[in-house]
């Protein structure tokens, strides 16, 4: 990109996008975006759901992205956008992962999407009782995200090269129609 024009970049974003962020997911960023979601978006119960989903997805990026910021305590680098359309909120998150980690993640996501609510709760309890540090820590976050959103996880994996892929999760939150 020789002549970077911010306007051209800005045009890439649709009006539906409420928040977008790309960069290191350190604790300060999590706090700022988290507080913004809690206070600005939708009704109280919807904003709490979005907040809970945001924290889990953002912490997954922070801990598990294969691209890290040396200047920020090695916080994972990733991208996040919150979109509002069709009476729903869409939370998109993405980060780079090592090619070898793709299959285990996809495997867990498939399990998550195959389970009903009771099954998800049981799966979460089972994973939560595993010793800390055991691989799978990230999946509890994804199980919780599926529970909170009450919708399936939409997963996309795009190979970048032989070594890395781009992993993205889209989560839908229906606005409460009470």
């Amino acid at each position: 990109m020789k002549d970077f024009n911010l306007y051209e970049y800005d045009k890439l974003f649709s009006k539906e996008i409420q928040i977008s962020y790309k960069g290191p997911f350190d604790k300060h960023i999590l706090t700022i975006i988290g507080n913004y979601i809690k206070t600005i978006i939708g009704d109280k119960q919807t904003s709490i759901k979005l907040f809970k989903i945001f924290i889990e997805l953002a912490q997954n990026i922070s801990y598990y992205s294969s691209s890290q910021s040396k200047a920020n305590d090695n916080s994972g680098i990733g991208i996040l956008a919150i979109r509002e359309a069709d009476n729903k909120f869409y939370l998109h998150s993405g980060n780079q992962v090592k090619a070898e980690d793709v299959f285990p993640i996809l495997d867990k996501c498939e399990i998550i999407n195959s389970l009903d609510r009771e099954g998800l709760r049981e799966y979460k309890r089972q994973q939560r009782n595993l010793p800390r540090g055991e691989k799978g820590g990230a999946h509890i976050g994804l199980i919780q995200v599926a529970l909170t959103s009450a919708n399936p996880l939409d997963i996309k994996v795009t190979p970048i090269n032989d070594e890395y892929s781009f992993f993205s999760v889209t989560v839908v939150v229906n606005k409460d129609i009470d």
Partner: protein, 132 residues
């Protein structure tokens, strides 16, 4: 035994207030719990509790008033409850109260899941935010 008091942080790192009173047996966790290294934060709390149940006699009342906790914190909360359950299994008298403010629609399921895992009875008590 010394009381365990940790002032939570509500700035960049949302960690709960801990107020464990060794004399009265009233243990309180309140605020929010997410961000930072949750395992590191809870390690001294679990250590204190393991020591405490060895010398505690009488009743332990644990009051949990967390308006939000992430999944990583929920592992540590589960560890706390397992220790409390140990005390109960050794003929200790235990009351577990979980206070919630009604904004989080999933809290009943969360508490039920803690009860299934630990076998403890947890009282779910609704409170107004103003009382926090």
């Amino acid at each position: 035994m010394e009381n365990l008091i940790i002032k939570g942080s509500h700035g960049d790192f949302f960690m709960p207030d801990i107020n464990f009173n060794a004399e009265s047996g009233i243990l309180e966790i309140s605020g929010e719990s997410y961000l930072e290294d949750t395992a590191k934060f809870y390690a001294p709390i679990l250590k204190w509790l393991r020591e405490y149940i060895k010398i505690a006699h009488g009743q332990i009342i644990i009051n949990i008033k967390l308006t939000y906790f992430n999944t990583s914190s929920s592992r540590s909360i589960l560890d706390i409850l397992y220790i409390i359950k140990d005390f109960e299994d050794n003929k200790g008298d235990v009351i577990v109260n979980w206070f919630y403010n009604g904004e989080d629609t999933e809290i009943e399921e969360e508490v039920e899941d803690f009860m299934i895992d630990t076998g403890l009875k947890i009282n779910l008590i609704k409170f107004d935010e103003d009382e926090m």
